[in-house]
């Protein structure tokens, strides 16, 4: 997985323009007015399916209708629960080789890529651009930095948070999972119960930014 912040609203410039009109506003007020565009690479389709559930955002994703998946075995995300188990690893790669053969055969039979892709697995890598405003990013981090989130999207959320902290540390000072933002866990009986550990993790991330 690789995450790169391509473009971000010029927050200092906006604050300066407001001050020129003698207007002082809390930084939080700017959140819905600023946006951040990320290049996200080499995540699984399983991860991108979760990402696009965040609807107050814009996405441009590599199309499997127009881009042929070549050498599938080199372009898949393998969870550690599979790579760390010999039996699971053998099962996974056995199916993957069959899938690759079936996909290549279908394309060879002149089946359009938009139909041949029906056999591709959720593990297939994808690339996309995603743009979110500051308010939606806080919500995204609230849900997806949480220990209850699935590991790949949590890794993605942490990477995106590191990127925005680089350019706007003050604006995202309170960003992190909801327990970090609000001082209490909202997961009820599903809570991981590690709020202190989580707070230490995100405090450290802010210090390193």
């Amino acid at each position: 997985m690789k995450v790169e912040l391509l473009s971000a609203s010029p927050i200092a410039q906006l604050v300066k323009a407001l001050r020129a009109r003698s207007i002082e506003v809390p930084l939080d007020m700017l959140l819905p007015h600023v946006s951040f565009t990320f290049a996200v690479q080499d995540i699984s389709r399983a991860c991108s399916h979760q990402l696009v559930r965040h609807r107050v955002a814009s996405y441009s994703q590599q199309s499997q209708r127009f881009v042929e998946v070549k050498a599938l075995e080199k372009h898949v995300v393998v969870p550690s629960t599979i790579s760390n188990s010999e039996k699971a690893y053998v099962t996974f790669w056995g199916l993957l080789k069959e899938t690759q053969r079936a996909y290549e055969d279908l394309v060879g039979f002149s089946v359009p890529m938009e139909d041949a892709r029906f056999v591709l697995p959720n593990a297939t890598e994808t690339h996309l651009l995603v743009t979110m405003d500051g308010q939606e990013l806080f919500h995204f981090f609230g849900l997806r930095c949480c220990n209850r989130a699935q590991w790949e999207i949590r890794l993605l959320a942490d990477s995106m948070l590191r990127e925005v902290l680089r350019v706007a540390p003050e604006l995202f000072r309170k960003a992190g999972p909801y327990c970090y933002q609000r001082g209490r866990c909202e997961e009820g009986r599903f809570s991981c119960g590690r709020i202190k550990e989580v707070k230490a993790k995100y405090d450290k991330m802010k210090e390193e930014a």
Binding site: K2, L18, A39, F66
Partner: protein
């Protein structure tokens, strides 16, 4: 009504070109962005050839203005498109923001001083798109 451009996400047209290519080319968006950033002719040609269908590639940006307008004028703007974002700073003064898709759709469907001001400020952040819209405007 008076509009003052105060900021926008940088490299707006390069990011737009990257979004176009990301969907159809088997390369990574970081590489594509780096490539188009060194090739302004390619950026212009991609934007000029853009078919504005669902328009989502125009959404990877944010433009900010200060807007001097009455409550009614601000409400009219929001009624034209729910994708404008307004915050009242004090009576008669607003912080306005939108992405390029919202602006293009407004410019293409509306008439009047607000439309002209939005199109005029586009020369600062999306000059190629602005010239395309100006040409379509002249052609009627």
């Amino acid at each position: 009504m008076k509009l003052q451009l105060i900021g926008f996400t940088p490299h707006l047209e390069e990011v737009l070109a990257t979004a176009v290519l990301t969907t159809t080319i088997g390369s990574t968006p970081s590489k594509l962005f780096s490539r188009v950033s060194n090739d302004p002719k390619r950026v212009k040609s991609l934007i000029k050839g853009l078919q504005l269908q669902h328009g989502s590639v125009l959404e990877h940006n944010r433009i900010n203005w200060l807007l001097e307008a009455s409550d009614e004028e601000a409400l009219n703007l929001l009624l034209k498109s729910k994708f404008f974002n307004l915050t009242r700073l004090r009576p008669g003064l607003w912080l306005l923001s939108a992405n390029l898709r919202t602006i293009v759709e407004y410019v293409r469907s509306e008439e009047g001083p607000m439309r002209d001001a939005l199109l005029g400020s586009m020369v600062e952040y999306a000059p190629t798109m602005q010239s395309c819209l100006e040409v379509k405007n002249r052609e009627g």
